[in-house]
Amino acid sequence: MDIIMMLAVMGFFLFMALCSESMLLLSVKNKKREFVVSIIIGFIYGVCTQFMPVEMIGYATVGMFLLLNIIIYKKIKVALLSTVYALPLLFAFFTLTVLQLKVLGREPSIYDSFGAVLFVGNIAILLGATFLIKRFLKKRIDMNIFNNRIIHFLMINAGVALVLMYMYSGADNVLYRIFPEGTNPAYFAFLAFFVSTAFTFALILRYISRENTLNAEAQIHEASRQYVGALEESYRSLRAVKHDYVNILTSLKLHIDSGDMEGLKKYYYDELAEINKYMLNESRLTDDLQNIRPSEVKSIIAYKCAEAAGKGINVHIEAREAVEAFGVSTAVVCRLLGILLDNAIEGAVETADETITNTSAEIAEPSLSVAVFTNPKSKTFIVKNTWLKKDLPLSKIFDLGYSTKGEGRGIGLHTLRQYTSKLKGLTLSTETDDGHFTQILTAEDET
């Protein structure tokens, strides 16, 4: 029974740690200061507990964490949340250590030297394990599934419940008293709690990840469908042009036979030049894309470009070099490209609206250009669109919820920055001038 409980506690700890990590994606840049502050506060706390009545320790711990978090994060809301996350983690360590002591048949107290060493050892081992598991998972799944509202609510619930259970279960509020007495009803309550929470989280995570995969698959499927559609369309137009050619040649012959030089000139410049331009653009859209081998990436570009063209935006694609693979997963590339292209289309549509209402020649025609090319050790994507320059500080456009369109927008660019901030080998640069907005995404090749 103790072993089951130990495993459950470890599972609980793991989920808690992974979730809290993903939630607290904070800009704690000064790691040294953070470290020194925690050590000092930890030391003061340790000294204080020696003089504290034993019932007070629980409350003092809460206070200590809150203080520490306020100092580190400087935001009350974040500090509260991270405290809610940190406490159950600490209690999980206590529980684990006490259980181990019990299994080893020693005095179940973490205040003697053996207990203390075990306690610290547990912290080190479990944190190390979390780190390793995180690295393992990062390569295989999208870590964003942990950053989910349902998960956070459950975590907070579980955390509060656990803290309350600890505070009110033991005879004198000291948690390790519960465990030696295997018949204590509280023992079974804890067992049930840990096992059920660990299971619940595992199930929910599985559900969310499956949901995400399905969504992503649906998107890729839709994109492929659109790509095939675009191919068919271009084939149809090619056939139409082939058919037209016969007519064009006949017309040319008529003009030549009748010696009508003026008519021939007019016909050439007015009619044929237009057709020529049309053909060039049309064939290029699909021609260039063939060079991009990963079909999901190809599809998403084709899909978004078709969408843009449908909105009256001039689309231009450059992909002259064969692109086989990227240093990051294709799923990530698709997600990022999707955001970049959506954002670009949004910007270009604004200029399209403007050209309709304001016919002055200064405003460029709405356009969207996409380029993919290779560098010696990386691949670059460029998305350039026309935009209306606003009074928009460039440094703010990546902030969550910041958009010129008001509430609820601007989430895309924030996600983008999160990806490029977390993944090694991805860099995103932004350039603007009066009429254009350019994003340059570079993915280093796998080494």
Binding site: N30, A371, I382, P393, L394, S395, S429, E444
Partner: protein, 240 residues
């Protein structure tokens, strides 16, 4: 002296371009001249490798043999010297973003519109000469970003900050944000002789001229473009 190279496989076009440039530079009295006009990209590259002069290249995209114009441009860029590249391109070969961002081409000239080719060539020579003067006057800084060098005017730089990833820095300039791989101490060394740039915090280097407000109590400064960055104790002294 600005060396001009022309790589074009069509003999007629190559000779007419070369003749025009020779004539133009002589008439305008420009400090520039044709170093080599050839159809062979390797010949062009070998000649360029042997000299130390800054150069301006007019490259055709489709060269018929071996490498194409863009690949030649890449090889030229690998040398890391001051070089300006202009592409001759047809309508169907035109990839402006690739020209500009892959090899930092100065410009491209579309061969299909025959009328203003000469005017465009003249423009390119003038721009290259003007930029060459700015570059040699030490008004730019060189950054190595993802294997490429980026030239920036220090006046435009607002701040450089660290990111969550080691060795990855983010630079905010007037109208661009650049992410690149480097370390703070390299950046500090780069701006060592420029009094405008101070490392006001472990994670930030800022341009003092871009400070809009100093909030000493909160230990932060607000810079142009709404960037706010913290000050360390040492940083506060440097700003004051």
């Amino acid at each position: 002296m600005l060396d001009i190279y022309i790589c074009e496989d069509d003999v007629k076009q190559r000779e007419s371009t070369a003749a025009f440039i020779r004539n133009y530079c002589a008439v305008q009295g420009m400090d520039a001249g044709i170093a080599l006009a050839s159809a062979d990209p390797y010949e062009i590259f070998d000649a360029y490798e042997k000299t130390r002069n800054p150069a301006l290249f007019f490259l055709d995209i489709d060269l018929g043999v071996g490498i194409n114009g863009i690949e030649l441009a890449c090889k030229i860029r690998e040398q890391g010297r001051i070089a300006f590249i202009v592409f001759f391109t047809t309508h169907s070969e035109m990839t402006p973003l690739t020209f500009r961002y892959k090899v930092e081409a100065l410009d491209f000239i579309v061969k299909d519109n025959t009328d203003n080719i000469k005017g465009r060539i003249a423009e390119c020579i003038e721009t290259a000469l003007a930029r060459y003067v700015i570059k040699t006057a030490g008004k730019t800084v060189k950054l190595a970003a993802s294997g490429k060098t980026i030239l920036l005017d220090p006046d435009e730089i607002i701040l450089i900050e660290t990111t969550h990833i080691r060795h990855k820095l983010r630079l905010h300039a007037r109208n661009r944000i650049l992410e690149f791989n480097a370390e703070m101490k390299d950046m500090e060394a780069l701006f060592k002789n420029d009094a405008r740039f101070v490392r006001c915090h472990k994670s930030y280097i800022i341009n003092k001229h871009k400070i809009e407000a100093v909030n000493k109590k909160g230990n932060t400064v607000t810079l142009t473009g709404g960037n706010e960055c913290p000050l360390s104790r040492k940083g506060k002294r440097l700003i004051a």
